[in-house]
């Protein structure tokens, strides 16, 4: 499908929920409201965009709404791509519907975005941390996250466990 025809088809079908964006390269790109994301994705799949390449997150911090979730779709037959940028409205608890039911490849990718940005994917079968340890606090790719993380807290924890594996001092040892 030609980019213009695709934009026409999508905007007429999901009026108000989708908006074409400037395309810096040859990939047509759209801003999508979370409410219609699943329907848009299903429709794209009908059109032949059968592969979900990646789900990524972006934090445009001072801006509000600050988060964007970016989806790349691929039509393997026609070698065409589409990019969707989904913008959750809430900055405190950004929520986007999950595509993991439709594309298994969305499952780990959405977990990564959740892990690093704290975007909640509603309907995800197993929305847990994937890269960081499960007891980690915060979402480190957010722009307002301290670069060095909870350094003092960690050092205190390590210091408390410091002698866990150390050999005992022998009598007369300095």
């Amino acid at each position: 499908m030609k980019p213009e025809a695709l934009a026409e088809a999508l905007t007429s079908r999901f009026a108000g929920g989708i908006e074409p964006l400037q395309t810096p390269f040859d990939i047509p790109q759209f801003r999508v409201a979370p409410s219609v994301l699943v329907d848009v994705a299903a429709y794209l799949r009908e059109l032949g965009y059968t592969m979900l390449l990646d789900v990524g997150g972006v934090d445009y911090f001072p801006r509000s709404p600050r988060f964007e979730v970016v989806y790349h779709f691929l039509d393997m037959k026609n070698r065409a791509r589409v990019r969707l940028r989904c913008v959750p409205e809430d900055d405190q608890r950004p929520e986007v519907p999950s595509l993991a039911g439709m594309w298994p490849s969305a499952n780990p990718a959405e977990r990564e975005v959740y892990d690093l940005f704290g975007v909640v994917f509603t309907g995800h079968p197993n929305l847990t941390r994937i890269l960081l340890p499960s007891d980690f606090e915060g979402h480190p790719l957010r722009k307002d996250y301290p670069l060095r993380g909870p350094r003092e807290k960690l050092e205190a924890r390590f210091a408390a466990e410091k002698n866990r594996f150390h050999a005992p001092k022998l009598a007369g040892e300095r």
């Binding site: 670069l147 390590f158 050999a167």
Partner: protein, 162 residues
């Protein structure tokens, strides 16, 4: 050591003898964390040949290893893993922090990397470099041997509660 009867017998202490045995075959664990592991592999190859000093056998099981070479940056998520591996090693056991990352966090001054493995494990020898050459690791093993022979490196003997 004392030679008796023209070298036919010698006397020594049990302690010294045990230390000599321990230092003469320090088997490292196959445990690579990052790019330093590539240099560590060279250590046992023909060019550097750690077998000259009794350290050629990389053991794949911590239960058969004496030496844990922490070769690379240790991420926060890896801490419980490396601690479990260390606990599974039989005593006496030694730890070498190989490279800048293992020694101090190196360039990774961020939320994900432990700023030096001495935070979570008792380290015997630190090797600087990014990455250190196999020479340097060999030198660290020699230092460890000296240390064992002198009775300074205790081999991570855990505190035994009375």
């Amino acid at each position: 050591m004392e030679m008796i009867n023209n070298g036919q017998f010698f006397t020594t202490t049990i302690d010294k003898f045990v230390r000599w045995a321990q230092k003469s075959s320090i088997w490292p664990l196959t445990f690579g964390l990052a790019c330093c592991a590539i240099e560590m592999m060279n250590l046992v190859g023909p060019r550097y040949d750690a077998s000259r000093f009794g350290s050629e056998v990389m053991r794949s099981s911590p239960r058969q290893a004496d030496l844990l070479i922490v070769s690379g940056r240790l991420s926060l998520k890896m801490v419980p893993v490396i601690q479990q591996v260390y606990q599974q090693m039989p005593e006496p056991k030694w730890v070498i922090a190989m490279g800048a990352c293992a020694s101090s966090g190196g360039i990774f001054d961020n939320y994900a990397i432990v700023q030096g493995v001495d935070r979570v494990l008792p380290v015997d020898v630190y090797v600087p470099g990014c990455p250190p050459t196999p020479d340097a690791v060999l030198h660290a093993i020699m230092k460890l041997k000296e240390s064992i022979a002198a009775g300074r490196a205790k081999g991570g003997l855990m505190a035994r509660e009375a």
